[in-house]
C-alpha cells in the first residue's frame, strides 16, 4: 500500500529522521519508489541533512547546542575545548591547534526567565545579539559552539556574554566573561 500523493513535508521528515512507524514507513517508502516528484522531495530532505552534517564536521557552523549535540560531537571524536562559566565569573581561556570546536557553557542563574536574549560583547561593545536564544532546559545552560580554527590566530582579548530579559525592559540577568589568551602568549 502506498501513501497518498503528494507526501507532506512533515511525513518526509519523519520518515527520513526515523520517526515514522513500521507500517507508515513502509507506505511512505513504497510511494517514494513509485513517484518521481516525491522521490525528489525526499532527496531534498536528505541532501540538506547531508550538507548540515558536513558543515558541522568541517567546523563551519556556529550555533547553540544542547547535551544531545555535545554527545554527538563526542561520538564523532571532534576535539572540543569546553569552558563552563557561572554568572559573574571570569574564566581564562585559550585554544590549541588541535581544537576543532570551542564550546562555552553559560550556566543560567536561579529563576532565569523562559525567554532570554544574549548579547555578545568584544571589548565592551555589542558585536552580536541573539534573540530568544536556545536554552538547554535540562542542563539549565546556554551552550554556544563555534569553530576553534579562526580563534587560533586571534590575539588575546575579553569576550563577554550578557543575558537579557526582553520581557522586562531588557534587564540584565547575568554576565559571563572569557579572557582569551592567544596561543603565542599562553
Amino acid at each position: 500500500v502506498s501513501a497518498t500523493h503528494p507526501l507532506a513535508l512533515g511525513d518526509l521528515l519523519e520518515y527520513w529522521l526515523g520517526e515514522a512507524g513500521g507500517t507508515r514507513a513502509d507506505e511512505l517508502e513504497a510511494h517514494v519508489f513509485e513517484c518521481d516528484e516525491c522521490a525528489q522531495a525526499l532527496d531534498d530532505v536528505a541532501r540538506l541533512g547531508r550538507d548540515l552534517i558536513a558543515l558541522v564536521r568541517e567546523g563551519h557552523i556556529s550555533a547553540r547546542a544542547t547535551a544531545g549535540l555535545v554527545n554527538r560531537f563526542s561520538r564523532d571524536r571532534l576535539n572540543v575545548r569546553q569552558y563552563s562559566v557561572r554568572p559573574g565569573e571570569v574564566v581564562q581561556c585559550t585554544v590549541t591547534p588541535q581544537d576543532e570546536l570551542l564550546l562555552t557553557r553559560l550556566i543560567l542563574p536561579e529563576g532565569a526567565p523562559a525567554r532570554v536574549d544574549v548579547s555578545q560583547r568584544f571589548y565592551g561593545h555589542e558585536a552580536r545579539r541573539i534573540e530568544d536564544v536556545t536554552i538547554d532546559r535540562r542542563a539549565g545552560e546556554v551552550v554556544t559552539f563555534l569553530p576553534a580554527r579562526p580563534r587560533q590566530g586571534d590575539g588575546s582579548g575579553r569576550v563577554e556574554y550578557v543575558l537579557h530579559d526582553p520581557d522586562a525592559a531588557d534587564r540584565v540577568i547575568a554576565t559571563y566573561t572569557l579572557e582569551h589568551t592567544a596561543m603565542s602568549e599562553a
Binding site: 513535508l9 517508502e29 558536513a54 544531545g68 549535540l69 534573540e131 536556545t134
Partner: protein
Amino acid sequence: MGAAAREEAKPSDADLVERIAQGHSSERGDSNERSADATRAEAALYARYQRRVYLYGLKHLRDPDAAWDLTQETMTLVTSKLRERELRDPAQLGSFVLGTCRLLVTGERRTQARRKRLLLQYTDPSAAVTAPPVERADLERVARCLGGLSDREQTVLLLSYYAELDASAIAVELGTSAGNVRVLRHRAFERLHGCVEGGGGA
C-alpha cells in the same frame, strides 16, 4: 516544452521494461538497433531509480559507502531480472526495485559471491553509480542560509539531522513539546530549503 513532448522525453516504467527485455530477446531481426535501444532504456532506468535506491540504503544502512554498494547491487540485479523478463507486471517496476532493495538489505542472500557473479555475467554498470560530490559552493550557501534562521530553528535542525534525536528527545532538551519541535523543524526546513533553492543567503 509541451506536455506531449515531455511525455515523449520521459518513457513510462512499462516502456523501459519492455525495451530492456526486447534488447535481450533471442528473436532474429534488427538486433543491433534493439540492443542499442535497450542500453538507452537501462541508462534511463538507472537515472530514474539509482538515487532512490541510494536513499533507501542510506536510511537503512546509515553508511554512504554501504548505500552505494547496495545501489550497485540492486540496479545490477534489477537489470538482470528485466533482461530475463522476470517482472510479470511492468507497471510495478517501482515496487520491484524496492522489493529488491529490501531483499538485499535484510536477507542473507546478499553475498559477495552473487555480486561478483552478476558483475561478471552482465555489463558492469558501476560507472553509472557514483556518489555525487558535495559542492563547496552548495555548502557555503547552506551555511549562509542556516545563519538566517532563528536560533531555535538552527538548533532543532542540527539536533534532528546531526545528533539524530527524534522530536520527543529534542523536546526534553528544549523544555517544550514534541509537537512544537515538529512545527519548528518543519518551518526551519522550509525556510532553509527555500533560501538554498532561491540562491539566497548571499
